[in-house]
């Protein structure tokens, strides 16, 4: 088990509204920086006087000291991070300070994807932990095969990183679908698995990385295995109620796994059966 360390102060260098209820915070260390994060790992983000939540890193910038976390306001702490009030969509103001612990958890295993096609499949806010994967692949042309990015969202206005999605299209196959089309939407409508027919899946040479609501993950993993992709070539990022981040409290236990240590990224070969077990 890891040792609990006190949070290090990080300054909010920028706060970018992504959607009506999600903000990307760029954080810079006030003094000492945490060790370098890997795509898929998370930090415990502490809002002083309010509480602490686990949030995956959504971009790693510069030499690794600058971290971006995309936060959706769904509770007291994430709401404080976003500082959402009616009519107020911008959260912590640049210059504010939060505390960070980490990096915690397993990252995406990108070594196993070397030379292989990389298929990123995200639902909703699940695109945030996968964005560093896309950055990683695009920054290393020739290290991987083809890159596919399939994204599902509730509606067009809930899509994260819309500018980046457009830019990624220059180098990757990017497909987006929404559950609820709004007037003017000209793209796909339906669940994200409906996009699988649009990409060529080379079963023995594709690595699929999934993040989103667990039902979406389960359904997508089943659809991928039905198309011949071996379970060990599917990685998923799972979410449970993480508190300590160091394997002490047991809140994030999923069967034999403590997801703050053994996850959040796990491969499907070892976890698919756990996803179907009720009330572990």
């Amino acid at each position: 088990m890891s040792t609990v360390t006190p949070p290090l102060p990080y300054r909010v260098a920028a706060a970018r509204p992504e959607t009506a209820d999600a903000v990307s915070l760029e954080l810079l260390p006030v003094a000492a920086a945490l060790p370098r994060f890997q795509p898929g790992q998370f930090a415990m983000v502490y809002v002083f006087g309010v509480g602490e939540v686990p949030i995956s890193v959504s971009a790693i910038r510069g030499s690794g000291d600058a971290l971006v976390h995309t936060v959706r306001a769904v509770g007291a702490v994430s709401g404080a991070l976003c500082r959402l009030r009616p009519g107020d969509v911008v959260g912590l103001r640049p210059g504010d300070v939060v505390g960070l612990r980490g990096p915690y958890g397993t990252g995406w295993d990108l070594d196993s994807a070397a030379g292989a096609d990389v298929l990123v499949i995200a639902g909703g806010i699940g695109l945030a932990p996968l964005r560093p994967v896309v950055h990683h692949v695009l920054e290393r042309p020739g290290e991987h095969g083809r890159l596919g990015v399939l994204v599902g969202a509730r509606a067009a206005e809930d899509l994260l990183y819309r500018d980046e999605l457009r830019r990624w299209r220059a180098s990757a196959r990017v497909e987006v679908t929404v559950d609820r089309p709004t007037p003017g939407w000209q793209g796909a409508v339906g669940v994200v698995t409906g996009l699988l027919d649009r990409v060529e899946l080379r079963e023995e040479n594709t690595c699929a990385l999934l993040c989103g609501p667990e039902v979406m993950i389960r359904h997508t993993a089943q659809a991928l295995t039905a198309r011949g992709l071996p379970a060990h070539r599917i990685q998923v990022s799972l979410e449970r109620n993480m508190k300590c981040g160091t394997g002490h409290c047991g809140h994030c236990q999923l069967g034999p796994l403590l997801l703050c240590l053994d996850g959040p990224v796990v491969d499907c070969a070892g976890s698919q059966s756990l996803l179907a077990v009720r009330e572990l």
Partner: protein
Amino acid sequence: MTGLPALLGGLPETHRDQLLAIARDRSFPGGERLFDEGGAADRFWLIRSGEVALDLYVPGRPPPVVETVGPGQLLGWSWLFPPYRWHLGAQALAPVDAWEFPADQVRAPCTADPELGYRLTLRCAEVIAERLQATRIRLLDLYAPRTAAS
């Protein structure tokens, strides 16, 4: 589209060739209406490129899009079951290239060759089951706000 549509990919080569011999190439410009709810379901398509919106007639408002069908996917299964009437309407969102299959020319060999009929019906049933499951999942509104952080 990449490779054969899933509907054909799951069929033995002889059946696949038999069906493709019936098919003809069709193109539709973006905005063209392919069929309307309640109309005669006398054909179906396998989409090679483009996007088709499936919609439902609602009085007093533009027909809401309930789903789209894109490259590699089957457009239309109402031709398979009596009374052969479309359950939904369809409109090309973008220019569409597709294989078009006249329903009577597919149903006839399916009746004459029960193995072909069984396999094709099974493949269509798989598509219908996938769409039913997808619809159920969308009913859950999974991306709606919940009570945990990202």
